[in-house]
């Protein structure tokens, strides 16, 4: 439907109502941040995944923990796209909106297209709530909702009625169960089984069985409400996927994938993992996830500030651990001096930047890709760092391992650029067999004979990683200018220039070890869409659709942003035009134009939200129309 893949709709008749079949549906739950919308969306997603759909989710929550109830800033939303086909994104526009109050209706209405289904909790449309949402009169039944299929459901009173006999719960506690009613109704609409969620309630509220049974009761009440009232005309069936690689699957967010990837890298090298970090949105879940993994010899250090976090990581790397930190733009700015020290000490570590809307504090919970130039150039002096960027949430797992491979092979800090979208978006992940992941070979020199701290591997130019505690190899290193090979402090002009060139060359040689860039679509032709990071889904889906329309469009998605892959120049030269969509004002565009003899067409967006498939598709159509832009 809103996925670019055209959906095949057909009528199916079955007892209990009309059932239409659709290949994919987008549903969005929206309510107060205390209404349990994240949990509701999560449960809908798990049930759909277990049912056999592809799923992609996007939570959208406020920066404030509890903004005033009933207001637009206090809203928390969760969007689920579920499909019989492969999904690329969490969907452009919802087919179904569940609005728990007037603010939820008001804030989300602009994202809907006519024909969409809206379920509102009519009990919440009180004078007071309408005022808090900025309505002067109720929108229900008015012109503003014409063309939508609106269902006014008394969620609160139905929930209370269902729990009339429930003992040991206050009215406020009963009202908290109303999200279960909405979920039950959604399960009925889309023919989902209730078992996964009932099991979840039983486990989550194991110590409060009355709460578990209340939620289960209300969940069923919501389901039966759909069945009995026939208020909802349309039931929709989204069959399970057919062509899926067999295996065991789970859902994974980008942050969860980074946790698993970092631990895996350390385990694959048989090293402890040291993770020094200061809490910051949207990177904190990585710290939280790793802190629970001490049995993997994970040593998490919640530092007193961002500077301490990078300092501790440098110290731990000197001490021989696999070391990593994560932050977001403002924290990365604070770490920049430390990262430069790491560059000069030539020690391996992984620095993750989960980008958010900037500058300054900006939009902590929203996504953006505007830190690419920060990580490349936001430090004093000539300061080269390899930069990698996963394209999807699940790929965060692979790229965390790849970042460590680069770090130890080339003895350098490595940046991994994630973003708020990848961090919070979840998608199915086929669970790999850990034995299928190659070990990470690490050599720590122990032979003092002929050892010099800055002697270099002839291929990679990496210096030896010698761990304190190794007899006979005591040495001192620091941030001062130095002579290559010996590493001795030197202020000589020639030594300085040689070191600057060596470090640059060392990082440039990372490109010798990269896999070829993957191209989708024609190997040459009219248009190449070149992207990086979390915009992959929108670009891939839009380009697929454009090719179906007969347009000559290829896509390449860069996982390596510094250095660029060696084949990139050749690839760029094979297309008449190059389109670069980015959630910034053209940072990759600037880098590409500086390096290669092409003029790129930028597509930029800085609204704290990911691209929609349609935005990219329309730009492709415009560029390739006879009146379109020409390079």
């Amino acid at each position: 439907m809103t996925d670019a893949t055209p959906s095949d709709s057909k009528q199916a008749s079955e007892h209990g109502g009309n059932i239409r079949e659709q290949s994919s549906v987008v549903i969005r739950f929206s309510g107060d941040s205390g209404d349990g919308m994240q949990l509701t969306g999560d449960q809908f997603t798990n049930t759909s995944a277990v049912f056999g759909n592809d799923v992609s989710t996007f939570p959208d929550f406020p920066a404030e923990i509890r903004a005033p109830a009933g207001t637009i800033p206090g809203l928390s939303g969760f969007q689920v796209n579920f499909s019989s086909n492969e999904l690329y994104t969490s969907g452009d526009t919802p087919d179904v909106l569940v609005a728990m109050n007037p603010a939820a209706l008001k804030a989300n209405l602009e994202d809907l297209e006519r024909g969409a289904v809206i379920i509102v909790n009519v009990d919440a449309f009180t004078k007071n709530n309408l005022r808090k949402a900025g309505y002067t009169e109720t929108p229900l039944g008015k012109d503003g909702l014409r063309g939508f299929e609106v269902h006014e459901v008394p969620l609160t009173s139905m929930t209370r009625a269902a729990l009339e006999d429930a003992e040991g719960l206050t009215t406020a506690q009963k009202d908290l169960c109303k999200n279960a009613f909405a979920l039950g109704l959604a399960f009925w609409m889309f023919e989902r089984p209730l078992e996964t969620t009932i099991k979840f309630y039983e486990e989550k509220f194991a110590k409060r069985p009355q709460v578990a049974s209340a939620n289960t009761k209300v969940l069923k009440a919501g389901y039966y409400y759909g069945e009995n009232t026939e208020a909802l005309q349309s039931r929709v069936r989204v069959p399970s996927r057919l062509a899926v690689t067999p295996g065991i699957y789970r859902r994974l967010t980008g942050n969860e994938a980074l946790v698993l990837g970092l631990v895996t890298a350390a385990q694959k090298a048989k090293r402890p993992l040291f993770y020094g970090s200061y809490p910051i949105t949207p990177a904190s879940p990585i710290l939280e996830g790793l802190s629970a993994l001490k049995h993997f010899d994970v040593r998490t250090f919640q530092a007193e500030d961002e500077i301490s976090a990078i300092g501790s990581v440098i110290g731990a790397s000197f001490g021989g651990a696999f070391s990593a930190t994560a932050s977001s733009g403002p924290g990365i700015a604070l770490k920049s001096e430390g990262i430069n020290l790491a560059i000069v000490l030539e020690l391996p570590m992984v620095i993750i930047n989960v980008q958010r809307g900037g500058p300054s504090t900006g939009l902590p919970t929203k996504t953006e890709q505007a830190d690419l130039l920060e990580v490349l150039f936001g430090r004093n002096g000539e300061s080269p760092v390899p930069v990698v960027a996963p394209a999807t949430s699940a790929e965060c797992f692979d790229m965390a391992i790849e970042a460590f491979r680069i770090a130890v092979r080339h003895m350098t800090p490595v940046y991994l650029l994630s973003d708020g979208y990848l961090a919070n978006n979840s998608e199915p992940w086929r669970i790999p067999d850990p034995d299928d992941i190659d070990p990470i070979e690490v050599t720590n020199r122990v032979d003092p004979e002929g050892y010099q701290p800055y002697m270099r591997d002839p291929h990679t130019l990496a210096r030896p990683w010698v761990i304190p505690g190794t007899p006979g190899m005591e040495h001192r290193i620091g941030g001062l200018g130095k002579r290559d090979h010996s590493g001795e402090v030197s202020y000589s002009p020639k030594d300085h220039e040689e070191m600057v060139l060596r470090r640059a060359e060392k990082v440039a040689r990372v490109a010798d070890f990269m896999p070829p860039t993957t191209l989708t679509g024609p190997a040459q032709g009219e248009l190449l869409v070149l992207g990086w990071g979390g915009t992959y889904g929108a670009i891939a889906a839009a380009s697929d659709e454009a090719r179906k329309e007969g347009l000559s469009v290829a896509t390449a998605h860069l996982r390596y942003l510094n250095p660029f892959p060696k084949d990139l120049g050749n690839i760029l030269g094979r297309y008449r035009q190059v389109l670069v969509p980015e959630l910034n004002l053209g940072q990759l565009s600037m880098l590409i134009q500086a390096r290669y003899p092409v003029r790129v067409i930028p597509l930029n967006k800085v609204q704290g939200q990911p691209f929609t498939i349609r935005e990219v598709l329309e730009k492709i159509r415009t560029v390739l129309s006879p009146q379109g832009t020409t390079a």
Partner: protein
């Protein structure tokens, strides 16, 4: 005077000598700098603490004192301004067998790195922090520091400093450091004894060393070095002994209500009336009171103000890891990957 308690892991032949700790680097401090004496004492003490040379790491920030690691033939990290405690913390967490030393100064440790210092102390990270205090910025050529006295005229305070200074010991005790001591560059015997005790401490050992900057603040410590007056300005703390000082050991410190006061011994005042030094008091109040004794009203306390047992961060971290392995077994990646709702897709 001070009993050295050596219970650090003994891993080597004890045949190392001072020379084994002298690096091949030419020392580049100004002639007459107090740093030379501290370096010499460190090189003298380290062979005696029973730790193999390769297990010792010196970490520093920026400043004259921070050149120290280059001159020690151990492992060394010369890092960035104020951040040495953070590198030392990560290093010790990654590699707990090492003996990790931080060398810092009044600017590096109390100004730009003040935040890191107090957090390292409160965590009781198992590192030794030696703070060279000369009440001036030396490497940047003579601006006032956070320990410069009010009214001090320097290049950046030509009319006199209007900053109130920090007292390094009070800061350390305020952060509940488990080992807090003061000594001086020129008093080499005392200095070496304090370093020995610091080396043996489990947890953060914080040592303030009065250090003379011969170029930019050469008179800062005259009242503690001039043989004519120094004994009247310093009280040496000795465990279980009353606080007695003065050239002829004729003065002491006793409590008057809630305040310490200086008294002359004799005329009915005996040693029994004086405060008896106890470095192991759990409550920080006594050590803090000592740290507030400042000249000219009171003698300056030298020695170990506080030395208490408290599990170090590193001991706690190691126990958590051991307990986690005990409870869940050594990490199993396959089990970790599957620790969520899963579903199976059949071929």
């Amino acid at each position: 005077m001070i009993e050295a308690v050596v219970d650090a892991p003994v891993t080597v032949d004890n045949k190392l000598t001072r020379k084994d700790f002298v690096s091949d680097q030419e020392v580049r401090w100004c002639p007459g700098c107090g740093d030379y004496a501290i370096l010499a004492q460190m090189q003298k003490v380290l062979p005696e603490i029973g730790v193999a040379r390769e297990q010792i790491v010196f970490v520093s920030g920026i400043g004259c004192s921070s050149r120290f690691p280059y001159y020690m033939n151990t492992y060394g990290l010369h890092s960035i301004h104020g951040r040495a405690p953070t590198l030392a913390s990560g290093l010790k967490a990654a590699n707990p067998d090492l003996s990790v030393w931080v060398v810092t100064g009044d600017g590096d440790g109390l100004s730009i790195g003040g935040n890191h210092l107090i957090h390292c102390l409160r965590r009781n990270m198992d590192v030794k922090i030696i703070l060279f205090n000369n009440r001036i910025y030396g490497l940047t050529k003579g601006q006032y520091s956070p320990t410069s006295l009010p009214g001090h005229r320097t290049k950046s305070s030509p009319l006199g400093s209007i900053d109130y200074p920090l007292n390094a010991l009070s800061v350390a005790i305020g952060a509940e450091a488990t080992f807090v001591a003061r000594t001086q560059d020129t008093n080499t015997k005392h200095l070496s004894e304090v370093l020995r005790r610091a080396a043996a401490h489990r947890g953060t050992a914080f040592v303030e060393v009065y250090q003379n900057c011969v170029v930019y603040n050469p008179t800062a410590w005259d009242h503690t070095t001039d043989p004519e007056v120094r004994d009247d300005n310093i009280v040496f703390l000795e465990e279980g002994e009353p606080l007695v000082f003065g050239k002829d050991a004729d003065k002491g410190i006793r409590m008057n209500g809630q305040e310490p006061e200086v008294v002359e011994l004799g005329n009915g005042v005996s040693r029994d009336d004086l405060i008896v030094h106890r470095e192991g008091m759990k409550n920080t109040a006594y050590a803090y009171m000592l740290s507030r004794m400042e000249d000219p009203e009171m003698p300056l306390p030298f020695g170990i103000l506080r030395c208490v047992d408290r599990p170090s961060y590193n001991q706690l971290l190691t126990s958590q890891i051991e307990a986690a392995v005990e409870e869940s077994g050594s990490g199993d990646l396959a089990a970790l990957y599957s620790s969520a709702d899963t579903w199976s897709v059949e071929s």
